[in-house]
């Protein structure tokens, strides 16, 4: 794990402005799932459109980082950039775009869930590496018990109980941070 992974958003932004490439890599790593989820879950863009939005959002982040007024407000800034680019993508395809940036109820619900999911992911980063790894493999990479067991070299019969224990720790982490 990069030493930049433990930095706050504000610290990360400052390092990116100083041209530290590892900091930029970490910023992309930290927010890539978020931008991707907004595009494909919140706005249901096709893979092709989502890729255009994804690359464009990170280009804008990189070229406009100096215009961010509050370094700790990176996440809402990225969310806003991504939503606007998604709306542009929908408009360019002739799909109906909610007026004045007002999103339809269903899209709003999905975007709210993406925000909630990001909070869960932040809490996940407070867990031991082994817990982060097994939960990520099972829930977001769809790996089977067997694949996880083979790759981590642990008995497959213990996977379910390890996942349950890590979920319990995640709950505790969330309760302590709220």
């Amino acid at each position: 794990m990069s030493r930049y992974a433990s930095l706050s958003d504000a610290e990360l932004v400052r390092s990116c402005r100083e041209g530290v490439s590892e900091a930029w890599n970490e910023l992309v790593e930290r927010y890539s799932r978020y931008v991707y989820a907004i595009a494909v879950r919140g706005f249901r863009l096709s893979d092709e459109d989502a890729e255009d939005v994804f690359q464009d959002v990170f280009t804008r982040i990189y070229t406009r980082l100096d215009s961010l007024r509050d370094d700790s407000a990176l996440r809402p800034w990225i969310a806003q950039l991504t939503r606007r680019r998604c709306l542009d993508a929908l408009a360019s395809k002739g799909r109906e775009v909610p007026a004045d940036d007002v999103l339809a109820g269903e899209e709003t619900a999905d975007l709210t869930e993406v925000e909630e999911a990001f909070t869960i992911r932040e809490a996940l980063s407070g867990l031991p590496d082994a817990c982060q790894d097994i939960l990520d493999r099972f829930f977001t990479r769809d790996q089977s018990y067997k694949t996880i067991a083979d790759e981590l070299e642990i008995p497959s019969g213990t996977i379910a109980s390890r996942i349950a224990r890590c979920l319990k720790r995640l709950r505790t982490e969330l309760e302590e941070t709220e």
Binding site: E113, R121, T140
Partner: protein, 85 residues
């Protein structure tokens, strides 16, 4: 207010943030290099009339002849910059 999550709900939310395709992430991480290439090409085009004319005539071939391998996004930006000036 503290929100309580059961394991099922945590699983649903964890599944929402799936990894973006690796190629997309890598391309985004390589942006600083791509921007440096873009700046270098634009600076050369501004200083070297022959290079600029070659870019306007056939952008991809001119860049390839000079050893550049910029991605599509950079090509689009250079095209846009050349058409502005």
């Amino acid at each position: 207010m503290t929100r309580l999550y059961d394991e099922e709900r945590l699983g649903v939310l964890l599944r929402l943030l799936r990894p973006a395709p690796m190629g997309w992430v890598r391309a985004a991480q390589e942006l600083p290099d791509a921007r440096r290439t873009f700046d270098e090409i634009v600076a050369r085009a501004e200083a070297d009339l022959a290079f600029r004319k070659a870019l306007i005539a056939d952008l991809e071939q001119a860049l390839s002849a000079e050893g550049y391998e910029p991605d599509r996004r950079i090509l689009d930006e250079i095209r846009e910059r050349l058409s502005e000036s």
